[in-house]
Structures are given as C-alpha cells and as structure tokens.
Symmetry: C2
C-alpha cells in the first residue's frame, strides 16, 4: 500500500467517515420505508426499485471499509479515535445487512404482486414502522454521540419481537384455514422475519453507539421477545 | 486505555489471534454438525445442547475483538499485517453468525421434537453436510493461507442455493397437501433457510481469505442459485 501525502487533517478524515456512515443510514431507512410501502400497496414496481437501489448501500460499505483501513494504516489512531473508527466499521456492516433485508422484502413483494389477493396482517407494516423508528433514533444517537438515546432505542426492540411472535401464530393460522394462503403466507412469514432481523441489527448499532460513546459495553441482557423458534402450533380441529 | 508493556512479539500476538479464530471455526463446525444430528434424530436434548454451547462461540468473538483492538492500538501494523488483523475480525463475525444459526436450528428441533411425527426431506441434512464441508474447506484455506482453496470452496455454494430452492418448493407442497404438516414444515423452512445462510457466511469467509492472501477482492460475481424470494407456487388442484 503506497503511503500518500495528504493535506487533510485526521479530524477531517474521521468526519468524512462519519458522514459516509450517516449517508448509508439514510439510504437504509429509505430502503426499509420503500419495502414496507411496496408491501402495503402490493406494488411490484416499488419492490423492484428497492432491489435495484441496494447496490448503492453496498458501494458505501466498500467506501467505509477503504476509509477505515486508510485511517488505521496512515494515522495510527489511539484509544478513543480507534474506538470511533472500529465502531463506524461495525455499524456500516449492520447497515449493509439492513439493506439486504429490505431488498429481500422487495423481491418477495414482486412475487406477492403476482399471486392471488391476500389479507395483509396489520402487524406487518406496524412492525415495519416501529423498526424504522428505532433505526432512525439509533442513528440520531450515533451522530449526536448520545448513549442514553441509544439505550432508549435499544429497549424498544422487545416490542418488535413480541409483534413478530404474534404474527408468526397469525400467519400459521391463516395457512391452516385455507391451503390457498400457504404460498403468500410463507412469503409474509419471511418478510416478517426480515423486519425482525432489521430490528436486531438496529439493536446491534445501538450497542455499538453505546460502546463508542461510553467506552464500555452495554452488557445488560437484551429483553428477548421472539420465541417463535420454540413454538409448536395447536393443530386445527379434526387434525 | 492503558498501554501495557509486554514481552510477546507482534508475530506471537498475531499467531494467537489466528489461533482463537481457528478455535471459533472448530466450534462453529461442531455446532452445525450437532444441529443437523439433532434434526435427523429428532432429538431435542442434542438441540438443547447446541443452544447452550452457543455462548462459547460468543465468548471467543469477544476475545477476537479485544485482541484485534489491542494489536491495532499497540502495534500500529501496516499493509499486510493490517489486512490479516482486519480479516480475522471479519471472519470471527461470520463465525459468530454461523453459531447463531446453528443455535436457532437447535431451538427449532426442540419444538419439532414435540410435534407429531413428520417426514424430514432428505435434502435438508444433505444441504447441512454440504455446508459443513464448505465451511471446513474454507477454514483450511484460512490456516493454510490458500486463496485457490478458498475460491474452490466459494464456488460450491451454488449447489447449496439450488438445493434450498428445491426444498422450498417441496416443503410448500407438503403444507398444501395436508394442513397438519404446516407447523412442522414452517420450522423446517426456517431450518433450511438457516443452513442456506450458514452457506452464505462461509462464502463471506472465503472472500475474506482470498482478499487476505491475495490483497485484492474476489470480485467475480458469485453464482446465485437461491431465487425462492421470487417464487410463486402453483396452487393445488381445485384451489
């Protein structure tokens, strides 16, 4: 790696890094919003746009990686600055995954827009908006370096997990009532799971922000509401 | 962060880092194997053991993070060494996720061991063994610093994705045939998806190993065989 001369100060480069991460966050939020909108309107075209746009988030993640390696290699930062840089890298990888989940929802909406009409459980968009809200607050906490705000957002993920558990039951019930629902409900199950995973990644970001600001891990155990992996459904009547 | 004096050489510390990552990989492989075995035997106790053991992988990931930050802060590595360190950090985060997926399979096997008997599609354990194999080869490539081996393992993931697409159809068909299958098949769908995701993370590790050894990204586009997000199922007769 060639060592380049540069007139930019270390602080400027660090600010540049934070800026790219914030831009990634803005895109990730917009993608999630687009995916939920596509689902509610059953609009395959919006879904397709979300799929296409995902490459922009991936590009920004590569930028963050390059900036990080450059800062580490050329600037040899210590303690606090090092924590900021490693945190930016971690957050960018969570945001990239959030983008992937939004794109996967987009893909599934394309498939759903071609199936017979189905009843969309209100819990799915509700969960989507909730997660969007958490992500927004977490990223505010990042730019404002506010550990308390990160912690507050982090605690809201419990509601997401509970909503998801309820949805899981509801969708399985729809499938059992009428096999014509199975194909659509399976996509809806994965969409709900994707939203729940976005919530988990927003939670990761909150933990990273807390660590970045306070210099110590947020090691209280996160309230865990998703227990659907343990769920066995009652069989329908006569089964 | 206090700067500590140490008699260990940089090379020793770097070797220590690689060793912890290799230990994580060994555990992740064992966990995946345990999860598949639990599924095949429909053994909730093995499933439970896999769930409990996951904490050990998480602990090792924290060790990797701490070692990495220490190496970066105190040793101010350049170019090649920096790449090794950042690669170890990335790989450990993929291995941690693989551990999570194995634990989630374990949880679902506990649930499945309490349901009525069901037919386990042969494709699920087959896909599990295939992914285990890929992970094993990828980690050999890591310790041997063999970019060609990483690339060869990376290419096998296409078969995983194809197997998954077939399974997705098969499981939906079982559900449509008989609603009593829905609860078990839904868990099996998520188990199959978890295994497919483990394959994706093994693929990420292969990319990181390639980059670590060659110093340039493996940017050929990965063959993509999982298109189930786009799938619409034909409805059953009379539906």
């Amino acid at each position: 790696m060639a060592v380049e001369h540069t007139v930019k100060s270390f602080d400027d480069e660090l600010k540049g890094l934070v800026e790219v991460v914030s831009r990634m966050a803005g895109l990730a939020e917009a993608q999630l919003q687009g995916a939920i909108q596509a689902l509610v309107r059953r609009d395959g075209e919006i879904g397709n746009r979300v799929v296409q746009e995902d490459a922009r988030i991936d590009d920004l993640e590569h930028q963050v990686s390059a900036l990080t390696v450059r800062l580490l290699a050329l600037r040899q930062p210590m303690a606090g600055d090092l924590r900021d840089i490693v945190s930016a890298l971690k957050i960018s990888s969570d945001l990239e995954r959030i983008g992937d989940y939004a794109a996967n929802i987009g893909k599934r909406v394309i498939a759903l827009s071609q199936t017979a009409p189905f009843r969309l459980p209100a819990g799915i968009p509700r969960m989507g908006w909730l997660v969007q809200n958490i992500l927004h607050e977490v990223m505010e906490a990042f730019t404002e370096r506010d550990a308390a705000k990160a912690l507050a957002a982090w605690q809201k993920d419990e509601e997401v997990d509970e909503t998801y558990s309820g949805l899981f039951r509801e969708l399985l019930t729809h499938m059992m009532e009428d096999p014509r629902n199975i194909s659509a409900c399976t996509h809806l199950l994965f969409i709900a799971k994707n939203i729940e995973r976005v919530g988990d990644h927003a939670t990761n970001v909150a933990e990273t922000v807390y660590y970045m600001v306070r210099g110590e891990p947020l090691d209280a155990i996160r309230p865990k509401g998703d227990n659907t992996s343990l769920l066995t459904m009652p069989l329908p009547d006569g089964a």
